[in-house]
């Protein structure tokens, strides 16, 4: 255990344990935020390509997205950290945090690309036609007509992906990142008090619950505006 590790049980007050857990949780959230941001940025072009009618690039991306969505994130995490450095030529060793961000970025990008794709597909072709009829250039049709609608449609499932990824970030403790789960296990091993698991769960819930509520609110607001996707 490093210098951040909790001390002996007699000196482990609830306050100290909580501070230790919060330090880990901050790291959890930072890794999740970085992965989400990068994953979202990657998911937009991937989602757009997946929405195209054909092409080799689409086929390749389709296969990659399906593979990532069809395999456990834990395996992906272990592979990026332990397996990738062993691959000749392309293999590089990554720090635990870098490996975590890379694996979670790729994983979240795959899920969010699928959401972006289905959002884009939900926008009626007539909307594009109307944009063109008004003289908008193709990129303007996408920027001002298609994307804002697709994003609104995709917003609730995107929020679900965000919540899922934040929870999945708990897994990075398996590659030695001292995030919340690693820290709570340390605390419990010292205090023999499994109630700290509940504290860790509450910390996750404090972050994920508002996001879940936000998704519901976005959906309600769309309905109030009579957002008919025609």
């Amino acid at each position: 255990m490093g210098e951040d590790a909790p001390g002996p049980a007699d000196r482990m007050t609830f306050g100290r344990a909580l501070a230790f857990l919060l330090r880990g949780f901050v790291l959890t959230l930072l890794v999740a935020a970085a992965s989400l941001l990068l994953g979202f940025l990657v998911s937009i072009p991937v989602g757009i390509v997946l929405n195209l009618p054909g092409g080799v690039v689409r086929l390749v991306l389709r296969a990659v997205v399906d593979f990532i969505r069809g395999t456990p994130i834990l395996i992906q995490l272990l592979f990026v950290y332990f397996g990738w450095p062993l691959i000749p030529v392309v293999g590089v060793s990554l720090s635990p945090i870098a490996a975590s961000i890379l694996a979670l970025t790729v994983n979240s990008a795959a899920y969010m690309a699928e959401v972006v794709r289905s959002g884009l597909m939900s926008v009626s072709p007539g909307q594009r036609l109307a944009g063109r009829a008004l003289g908008l250039r193709p990129w303007q049709v996408f920027r001002f007509v298609v994307w804002p609608q697709a994003f609104r449609i995709a917003m609730p499932p995107l929020m679900n992906s965000v919540v899922a990824l934040i929870k999945d970030t708990a897994l990075i403790s398996v590659i030695t990142v001292s995030e919340l789960i690693a820290n709570v296990r340390s605390v419990v091993s010292v205090t023999w008090n499994p109630a700290y698991y509940l504290v860790a769960a509450v910390l996750f819930f404090i972050v994920t619950f508002p996001l879940m509520k936000l998704a519901g609110r976005v959906e309600r607001r769309m309905k109030e505006r009579g957002f008919a996707n025609d």
């Binding site: 009626s124 007539g126 909307q127 036609l129 109307a130 944009g131 063109r132 009829a133 008004l134 003289g135 908008l136 250039r137 303007q140 001002f144 007509v145 804002p148 609608q149 609104r152 505006r225 009579g226 957002f227 008919a228 996707n229 025609d230």
Partner: protein
């Protein structure tokens, strides 16, 4: 003047949807493209609107082949309001109206907003400015879609089945309202509704099976259609 000469169109792998259609839409009057469902009206509209590429025939706008006109110029001069309107549901009515003036005509935002509000007031729908398309009635949405297209000041504005979503009373009101806009542009209504066409248009063309069966005064065409004289042969 829009001149269509011997326009033919075939969908890939399908039957001939338009067969040597020739018609002229003169400025200064409301014209009508009439015909039953499946007669080729919408295909005709999509060809004239450059949404379908036709290989046979020509369409000229004031003498120029529309296929040679720059996209922006063509879109500014020939407007289309589709049957399903396609108002942008994520934008308010006012924002729907401002989109093309700002991003196509390059008008400053405040100027575009003032013009849009003026147009909405003129069209008696000023109170809808902050509403979203999903919050307005079918008749109001129809007016908004026309107002949105009129802000580009097109030379011609095609309205595809403008009464299809309106009940009889609303369609009558809409016809009266449309007649009040005659000076804004040259309207061409594409419709199967003979009564509506008679009430708003003077000249027309009747399509059936992708062919022109009759052209001339709308009242006469409607009379022929009702008498069963306009049926496709062969």
């Amino acid at each position: 003047m829009i001149e269509v000469e011997r326009l033919s169109f075939r969908y890939p792998g399908g039957a001939l949807a338009l067969k040597e259609v020739s018609v002229r839409f003169a400025p200064g009057k409301v014209s009508a493209v009439l015909g039953e469902s499946g007669s080729g009206k919408t295909t005709f509209l999509l060809c004239i609107g450059r949404f379908l590429r036709f290989r046979k025939g020509t369409v000229r706008l004031d003498g120029a082949d529309i296929r040679t006109l720059p996209e922006r110029e063509f879109r500014r001069r020939v407007g289309i309001v589709f049957q399903h309107l396609y108002l942008f549901p994520h934008l308010t009515v006012l924002e729907n109206m401002m989109l093309a003036p700002v991003h196509v005509l390059g008008r400053p935002g405040d100027e575009a907003e003032a013009e849009a509000r003026k147009m909405l007031d003129r069209l008696d729908i000023g109170d809808l400015a902050q509403s979203y398309p999903g919050q307005v009635s079918g008749g109001q949405a129809q007016r908004v879609a026309i107002a949105r297209a009129l802000l580009l000041r097109p030379d011609y504005l095609f309205l595809d089945e403008p009464t299809s979503a309106l009940d009889a009373k609303t369609a009558d009101d809409f016809a009266a309202w449309l007649k009040g806009l005659k000076d804004t542009t040259n309207f061409v209504v594409v419709t199967h509704n003979l009564l509506f066409a008679e009430s708003v248009a003077t000249e027309g063309v009747y399509l059936s099976g992708g062919r022109v069966l009759d052209t001339g005064p709308v009242g006469r065409i409607a009379g022929h259609a009702r008498a069963g004289k306009l049926v496709t042969r062969g």
